[in-house]
């Protein structure tokens, strides 16, 4: 998976070779440290609590909507599509604001994401993971690189910023000097890997088939990036009524393994 993502990234960088914003990255950032950072902060076991969420999959399985490999793949693909057209835009907006060092804009993106999370469990997920990411970046990054993340964390603690996860991802990847495509790819991968990991605990599924689902979903990410790369915050949109209702059904469920 990772090699596919990186190939894609190289491809995009090559296409963007005329773009000055990436020119300095190529010279300043050797490939191995950059790759190691993408691997570390795109890791599905990054301690931000992703394993406690299923993003609606638990209800979908409980209701019998997702019951085999094909239905799982369709459901995860739809979820990834929705994530790209809403949170994906926020990842890029936060990344670009962070590159400018514009904290007001970062908070604006943060509120825009929060105000578009109409389901309370989904809202809880994004701010819980966002805060954990901020705490981790504050601790792990070197002094100068941590500046934006530490500022964001203190605004979250003061209740001045909601602390939504995609904002943290954009901010972190900008602070690390990685490309915005990396931030977007890791965002898409994080959602799909969370859901696929949950599926292994929720349904009868061969662990190698689960990887095949993840691989198929990841193949869509480059096209999704192309679709949203020039979108504004106002363009953030979703349409997944069934996922929305499943999230409501989950809130009221008696037996739950996951928090959404």
């Amino acid at each position: 998976m990772m090699s596919t993502m990186l190939d894609q990234r190289e491809l995009m960088r090559a296409e963007d070779s005329s773009c000055e914003s990436f020119a300095h990255l190529k010279s300043a950032m050797p490939t191995i440290p950059a790759l190691m950072r993408v691997l570390q902060f795109g890791d599905s076991v990054l301690p931000v609590g992703a394993f406690t969420f299923s993003n609606g999959l638990e209800s979908a399985i409980e209701q019998g909507l997702v019951h085999d490999l094909d239905s799982l793949q369709e459901f995860v693909l739809v979820a990834a599509e929705q994530a790209a057209s809403a949170d994906g835009i926020a990842v890029l907006a936060a990344y670009r604001a962070a590159r400018e060092g514009d904290e007001d804009r970062i908070d604006e993106v943060d509120r825009a994401v929060f105000n578009r999370k109409l389901n309370e469990e989904i809202r809880t997920m994004t701010v819980r993971m966002g805060r954990k990411l901020a705490e981790m970046a504050d601790r792990v990054l070197d002094g100068h690189d941590a500046r934006l993340a530490s500022g964001w964390l203190s605004r979250i603690k003061d209740g001045k910023a909601p602390g939504c996860y995609p904002v943290g991802q954009g901010l972190l990847f900008a602070s690390l000097g990685l490309a915005e495509q990396d931030a977007f790819a890791v965002h898409q991968y994080g959602l799909a890997s969370m859901m696929v990991a949950a599926s292994l605990r929720l349904m009868k599924l061969h662990y190698l088939d689960a990887q095949a689902v993840l691989f198929a979903v990841n193949c869509e990410a480059a096209a999704a990036y192309e679709r949203i790369a020039r979108s504004s915050l106002e363009d953030m949109a979703t349409f997944a009524p069934a996922i929305d209702v499943l999230a409501c059904v989950h809130v009221g469920a008696n037996v739950r393994m996951f928090m959404n």
Partner: protein, 302 residues
């Protein structure tokens, strides 16, 4: 010319009929409700074809002091190049019910698109039910609607949008064959503090609608927004059960909106009658909680 929205980029050609937004296509409807004595009245109305209203009726037996206004269209539906504007104001402590005379048909289009903006303002203690009939987007319809709500913390707005897949039983079935349906609702306090934003864009040719997680096997979508003080929202939320009903083929659930704005209630089903009934059940929870009055059984001719 600046694009209204990126999803409309492919639909900028001018109709060969009347130009977009010209006379007869630029409907305007402005309504203002206020209290007078022990009832509320439609104190002001301004209208431009093809939208019109006649005088308010006091036909709701559950709330006889509440003016009921039916929005009427004299063009038989929404056509390419139409630009509609609606503005509703409810003054302090007044109440009103706004609905449509019939389902809104969005006709087949081969040029341009139709767009609508709605501005709704509720002052302190105001109560508005805005429950239009369903929307039926025909094959190749392109529709953009943008709603901005301004609401005082003590006011209540019950707002619904029912979207069907098209003329479900026409010919071989017109199921999600429109080009684009884009709807944005933004709610703010009177001081401009944002409460929430919901934008959905449906482009069936680009992203298939009958997939798991989107509409699946369902064909009708009801989106109900209830903006109300937290004590009402909590009481109503406690009475709404989230259900996935496999036998009757519908599913529904409510969630608390961000910033203590109220609730959102979503229903999907395979028949508009089922979704309408669920929306009405939700209305029947809201009105007694907020106003102390009941919702009477629906008129048999509705």
């Amino acid at each position: 010319m600046k694009l209204l929205a990126p999803e409309l980029a492919a639909y900028q050609s001018q109709p060969k009929q009347l130009p977009s937004g010209s006379f007869g296509k630029n409907a305007l409807l402005r309504l203002r409700f206020e209290t007078r004595g022990d009832r509320s009245i439609l104190a002001f109305s301004d209208r431009r074809a093809p939208l019109l209203v006649q005088r308010a009726l006091y036909c709701d037996e559950g709330l006889p002091s509440m003016p009921v206004v039916f929005i009427i269209s004299n063009s038989g539906g929404i056509l390419q190049g139409d630009r509609y504007t609606m503005e509703f104001v409810v003054e302090p402590h007044a109440c009103a019910h706004i609905t449509t005379q019939a389902a809104t048909k969005i006709h087949e289009m081969d040029a341009n698109y139709a767009a609508q903006t709605q501005e709704i303002r509720l002052e302190e203690g105001a109560y508005l039910e805005f429950l239009p009939d369903m929307v039926i987007p025909f094959r190749h319809a392109r529709f953009h609607t943008s709603t901005r709500i301004k609401i005082a913390p003590s006011a209540t707005l019950l707002y619904s949008e029912i979207l069907t897949c098209g003329r479900q039983y026409y010919r071989e079935g017109e199921v999600f064959q429109f080009d684009v349906f884009s709807s944005t609702v933004r709610a703010e306090r009177l001081d401009d503090t944002e409460l929430f934003v919901e934008k959905f864009v449906i482009e069936p040719q680009r992203a298939a609608v009958p997939r798991l997680g989107i509409m699946g096997e369902f064909t009708v979508f009801g989106n109900v927004i209830l903006l109300t003080p937290p004590e009402h929202a909590d009481a109503i939320h406690g009475q709404v059960e989230a259900v996935w009903n496999h036998e009757e083929q519908w599913a529904a659930g409510a969630s608390r909106l961000p910033n203590d704005a109220g609730l959102v209630y979503k229903v999907v089903g395979k028949e508009s009658s089922v979704v309408r009934a669920k929306v009405r059940e939700f209305q029947a929870l809201v009105r007694p909680q907020v106003t102390g009055s009941c919702v009477p059984p629906e008129f048999s001719w509705r």
